[in-house]
Assembly symmetry: C2
Homo-oligomer: 197 residues x 2
Amino acid sequence: MLGPEIERLIQLLSRLPGLGPRSARRAALQLLKRKEALMLPLADALATAAATVRTCSVCGSFDTQDPCGVCADERRDPTILCVVEEVADVWALERASAFKGRYHVLGGTLSALDGVGPEDLNIPSLVRRASDPAVTEVILAMDATVDGQTTAHYITDRLAGANVAISRLAHGVPVGGELDYLDDGTLTTALKARRPV
Amino acid sequence: MLGPEIERLIQLLSRLPGLGPRSARRAALQLLKRKEALMLPLADALATAAATVRTCSVCGSFDTQDPCGVCADERRDPTILCVVEEVADVWALERASAFKGRYHVLGGTLSALDGVGPEDLNIPSLVRRASDPAVTEVILAMDATVDGQTTAHYITDRLAGANVAISRLAHGVPVGGELDYLDDGTLTTALKARRPV
């Protein structure tokens, strides 16, 4: 009874992460109630971003320019590459202003279960970039998950021939974390990797 | 560093109910990764719905036709009006196939706190519709909240002159509800409104 236009809108909205069928209906109603203020601007923002945002041919991140802003920025240290799984991780590190080098986005992790092999990820281009004599260090910043760590191991092997230092993010107690709420794996790792004060 | 196009997209997405800043970023990344399958269709669905969906001039619901499908449907009982707060409530009742009459959408509730008075809601048009001799019953299907019930009381007063029966939804234990988990108000109401078996 909703009409095909509204049904289609709800169906597409429900495919966004974080929105299920119920919240997609609520979102559709909110949009229909605020056509000028929200619905038309969102339609325009989607079309504009789809038309202008592209994948950086160097690092695999998203930007309206290619190479992306980070890769094109002369002030970023070209000797250090930070390898991440997804563009979301680039955004997270940039928000933290934690890193001043360049990025390399794999586009996922190796996963036997999902049939993702090395050829499905941006690993050949990483090997190429790491072989550049200008690059001295590669930081593996994968998630601390089984797939993430498997991918990190694989990349370490693949970069064995390149003349670069390979490092990974420290694992341990998150800042602000309470021991009582941490899982056993994190506690064990943090204890093993304890540092002299 | 994200570029204005992506920033604007995230900002608009974060205004949807159910999406905060973090999930809006995740949604934006998902959209950028799936331009053809999701982003462009969603942009089109939004623009199409914005252009075609309008508010029914009779009941205040949304549809691509005016009067809406329910108001135009000759098989729906024209003697009973079901008054609801929002279009979402029409959708919920239609999903339940619980009602075969016509609807009237108020567009909100009276709220002294938010400065919503009777003139801000579709109450004058309700009084007009209820005065039609063909209408014999008005069902007040407001939320069981303070604002909802205040609005129901106000409408009852306003319809005192019209020759219609006024009813409201039953309050009590929801179907499938366990007494142990119900609030005191619901239990008290359910007990007071007990029915002979």
